[in-house]
Amino acid sequence: MSCEVPLLVADHVSRLYGSRIGCANVSFDLYDGEVVSVVGESGSGKSTLLSVLSGSTPATSGRIFYRMRDGNTRDLATLGEAERRLLMRTDWGFVRQDAAEGLRMGVSAGANVGERLIGAGERRYRRIRSEALDWMGRVEIDPMRIDESPQTFSGGMRQRLQIARNLVTRPRLVFMDEPTGGLDVSVQARLLDQIRSLVREFSLSVVIVTHDLAVARLLSDRMIVMRHGIAIESGLTDQVLEDPREPYTQLLVSSMLQV
């Protein structure tokens, strides 16, 4: 079911640190089932943008709108702390580069997946258990390891567990911050493949930050190129990659093709 109203709208969003620019004047719309990638070098402001969009850092100026599950579009700045946190643990997901930050490392894999269900009010142990087993299977983690701590998991497994933990409440919007960063190339490829199929299966809307244009190409429909905190170019991913307008984007694209 498509909807004409965007799910997320960024309207001239800026974040300043004193006089230093984190990101400035970023605007874009995100529709249901759409994946937008934000690319750029480190320090380009893409992570700042992500943390502003997800509400963990307040914007200095500009507004962010989100269409809630009830169909009403709300200015995120007007949400109370309780509403924001509820959104964060039900309708949104956040996949962090370091899985240890996104997981609760002191409890089992099953509890990690179950926590968001519990947070959403589930009080049946068996249901939590079976959902956790189901999701471990979906992200190709041996369900026999449900009671093990993620401490014993490899980097790729932890990342897949983090994705399962986020998706178990069927969020509509997922933020991803370099989800494949720091993983071996072969592990990366497999993880990307899984992310792509999950995104399709649940028609997720995703904002993904990456420095890796190959990741952006594989996952995203549209692309935003950032430099010095400013969105210098945006468009359909294929278009931007095939015919980059800005010299900086051309440089990025050529360096990708050489590798």
Binding site: I118, G119, Y125
Partner: protein, 288 residues
Amino acid sequence: MSAPIATGYNFAYLDEQTKRMIRRAILKAIAIPGYQVPFASREMPMPYGWGTGGVQVTAAILGPDDILKVIDQGSDDTTNAVSIRRFFQKTAGVATTTHTSKATIIQTRHRIPEDAVKEGQTIVFQVPIPEPLRFLEPRETETRTMHALQEYGLMHVKLYEDIARHGHIATTYAYPVRVNGRYLMDPSPTPKFDNPKMDMSPALQLFGAGREKRIYAIPPYTSVVSLDFEDHPFERGAPDRPCALCGSTGVFLDEVVTDDKGARMFVCSDTDFCERALMRRTAPEEIA
């Protein structure tokens, strides 16, 4: 039987200003069942961790006509119970009793008496760590937010872990409860066996944590629900045998090692209850 009142100190040790401050905290606690009210806890002449919170609450509500019972681990005769009872005999000169039914105020550490309490009675609990989320989240700033937003999922994560590992919930005392459908509360380190006694109790239940500077309360006839899962309901864990002394069943038992070869017996933790049950059995007509 009360000893002469110590000179040089106010009635029940604390000055009236301090008592007023504590009473205000108690009133607020009663108005918001299960909510931990910060209060300016005073240094008391007994160490922190030995009941200073309970002692301050008792001192603030105690009147000359009150009859006080003090128990520790269910017993009136353990060292700390004796010490606290004497403290109030000395500083307030109030009457004391070991009989649950005769007391107007019962200060307790780790137990609720076996005899049913009634309207008009107050139970004062000594609390070491008032924050039920403390061992899951060490920061006060964060736990206060979690209470404010009723974000109590973490507690169920812990129970989930228990069941996943052991097949059942493995929390045996200080078992977390939800009070009046709102605040998550630590019932103090009483065994979970006593949790059901807190629910809809006709007595006022006050909790004092001196070192952590918190007071909280369960007003009479307030719902107190032990956390659980629908398919793994709370279990009280009643002992599977009668008391070896008085023969009572369905009461909490202490295990006593009787020789160096591992022989042991199980007897009532509530010594006053045990004694009277024994008397009732041997000389029933003497009991009113």
